[in-house]
């Protein structure tokens, strides 16, 4: 059984069909890429999975459960974590606290326990901080725990978002253009981090424009254009797929298309 399955997803924005009967399946353990030109509907597909949008038609099935209509926080609790294309950190808070946001859904203590400072609450709080520090270490931001998140570099802010997502202890991690705004070294470090995420047994679904990253990191790709799936397969297959090359470069020279990848 696939970990994530999209069945003929449709999403309309007014008269615009942003996602048009998109279906694909992500197997557990995969690093799966979703690519396509700008405005193709990739982010919209992610938002349909994470519950930020409700599909007009079709189904999202995760781990055997239909996600349609569930609140985003519920979907996170079920094991789907995400990052955002435009960085959405809690700017005024420290890196540690940003990661603690991810820990939240695995904790239990409420307001009354906090006021009474019960032993359980104290222990839970300490364990959460340990977990958050471990996730910061994992992405290489261990020394920045106290730093305000908006004073981190752009690349590090992206990594912090990944740490926050990992702290929710997901089965599936969804990354929306994680290399956006990163330089070459940062991108290389990201590729290595993604590999280590996979090694932890977490399935990764990512959108990316940086083709070198896609080709290096992803094991399987789906390509969409104008909201429709136009190709699916291994990176090597996608690289030489006529439709895909056309989508990216218009109907020009095939050679040029390959060079782009």
């Amino acid at each position: 059984m696939s970990l994530l399955k999209l069945e003929k997803l449709v999403k309309d924005f007014g008269g615009l069909r942003a996602v048009d009967e998109v279906s694909f399946a992500v197997e557990a353990g995969d690093i799966f890429g979703l690519i396509g030109p700008n405005g193709a509907g990739k982010t919209t597909v992610f938002n349909l999975i994470t519950g930020n949008y409700v599909p007009n038609k079709g189904k999202v099935i995760f781990d055997g459960q239909v996600l349609n209509g569930l609140a985003p926080n519920k979907i996170v609790t079920l094991g789907v974590a995400r990052t955002f294309q435009t960085i959405r950190l809690f700017k005024a808070l420290s890196a540690l606290e940003n990661v603690l946001a991810g820990c939240h859904c695995r904790m239990k203590s409420g307001s009354i326990a906090a006021m009474l400072k019960t032993p359980f609450q104290k222990r839970e709080e300490k364990e959460a901080i340990q977990l958050a520090l471990a996730e910061l270490d994992f992405v290489g931001l261990g020394d920045d725990a106290d730093t305000r998140s908006d004073s981190l570099s752009y690349g590090n802010q992206r990594l912090l978002e990944i740490a926050r997502a990992l702290a929710t202890q997901p089965k599936l991690l969804i990354l929306d253009e994680p290399a956006g705004g990163m330089n070459e070294q940062e991108t290389d470090a990201l590729i290595e981090i993604i590999a280590r995420i996979k090694a932890r047994g977490i399935t990764v679904l990512l959108i990316e424009h940086d083709m070198s990253l896609v080709m290096q990191a992803c094991e399987k790709l789906v390509v969409i254009e104008y909201g429709r799936k136009i190709a699916e397969g291994l990176p090597e297959e996608i690289k030489v797929n006529k439709k895909v090359i056309e989508a990216y470069l218009g109907t020009d020279d095939e050679e040029e298309g390959e060079a782009c990848f």
């Binding site: 926080n73 959405r88 809690f90 700017k91 606290e97 946001a101 939240h104 859904c105 901080i129 725990a145």
Partner: protein, 358 residues
């Protein structure tokens, strides 16, 4: 550490101050305390969760009326009604906040202003025939604490500021917990908070409920302090004052909110008291044959102007308030050390197992 010593000294100074002050000034401190309590409860909603709630006086009213009705109609001792006043204010908040909780910013502000007006008008119209209409309810008993009747301002001072101490203690813990953080996350970015697994609707509601429970309990103290309450005591202006205290003092900061209450409630009284100073100066000059007619007490009449201007200046130059919240402190060093030790133990055990295996 140094900061804590300053707070402790200020608290001690405040605790002994009634011994040096007359009833009038103690009552001023009592008012400061009441508004500080209300503003602290509003601070959870407005400061921590960032919800523009301008209707807090409604919850205060529900608490005060609950106490007044239970005490005058059912003879329940005033302080016994406190938990119930909180509970009913909390339930009321849950009811009215549920349908509007998804509203943002200015929309929420407008609707919550409606809370106050609806409650006030309902009270004037004597809903359920138990609120006494425009005249309100009178003859509320004085509270008893450990068999001691609280009557004079000097006595109320310790009730009010004692409740303040409890409130600060509990709210400080609340701020520095998973709960307090969740409110801050949704204030900073509620899409990201939701996407990180935080049930933002739930936390917004709970912020409203806890804030209302506290405002309701402060309502109990108010009813006992005044012995007579009327709808006009809970008008829109009260909500504005609480809102102003939080924003001016520092949204999300306990010390800021308390400072805000001293400034917004206490300063006008000091200006009023300045009348004697200007009289003194006038008489001093007149003894030299110079006629002056200074009247510093006029400042208190201009206080709305002054606060209005202060708010504008604040919003431009210091929009986090006078004493903005400090970042939370985490014992990272200690926790790091524990993590390191645990890791070492783990490695040593692994090596041991490795040695035992041939």
């Amino acid at each position: 550490m140094k900061r804590n010593i300053i707070y402790l000294l200020l608290a001690l100074l405040l605790a002994v101050s009634p011994a040096f002050l007359n009833a009038y000034w103690v009552d001023v401190l009592n008012n400061v305390g009441m508004y500080a309590l209300l503003a602290l409860s509003l601070n959870l909603i407005l400061g921590h969760a960032g919800l523009f709630h301008m209707g807090h006086a409604a919850f205060y009213a529900v608490g005060a009326y609950t106490t007044a009705i239970l005490n005058t109609s059912f003879d329940i001792p005033v302080l016994w009604t406190m938990p119930l006043a909180g509970l009913i204010a909390g339930l009321f908040a849950l009811m009215v906040a549920r349908p509007i909780i998804h509203l943002r910013g200015d929309y929420l502000l407008i609707v919550t202003i409606g809370f106050v007006e609806i409650v006030r008008i309902a009270l004037i119209n004597n809903v359920f025939g138990i609120t006494g209409g425009a005249n309100g309810i009178f003859g509320i008993d004085r509270p008893y604490l450990f068999g001691f009747k609280i009557r004079k301002p000097h006595e109320f001072f310790y009730l009010i500021w004692g409740f303040m101490a409890v409130t600060v203690f509990l709210f400080h813990r609340l701020e520095n917990s998973r709960f307090g953080r969740a409110l801050n996350f949704l204030r900073e970015d509620d899409v990201a908070a939701e996407g990180s697994g935080i049930n933002t609707t739930y936390y917004k509601l709970i912020a409203f409920v806890i804030g209302a429970v506290w405002a309701g309990m402060v309502g109990t103290i108010y009813a006992a302090k005044m012995t007579i309450i009327a709808p006009e005591s809970f008008n829109f202006w009260e909500s504005v004052v609480m809102f102003m205290i939080v924003i001016l003092g520092g949204a999300g900061s306990i010390r800021g909110v308390i400072l805000g209450a001293f400034l917004v409630i206490g300063l006008p009284e000091i200006f009023r008291g300045m009348g004697t100073i200007s009289d003194l100066i006038n008489s001093l000059f007149s003894s030299f044959g110079v006629t002056l007619s200074l009247d510093f007490s006029n400042f208190s009449k201009a206080r709305m102007l002054i606060f209005g201007a202060a708010m504008v200046i604040m919003m431009i130059f210091r929009n986090a308030g006078l004493l903005p919240p400090l970042p939370r402190k985490y014992p990272l060093k200690k926790i790091r050390e524990e993590m390191r030790i645990r890791e070492e133990v783990r490695i040593r055990e692994e090596m041991k197992i490795g040695e035992e295996m041939p």
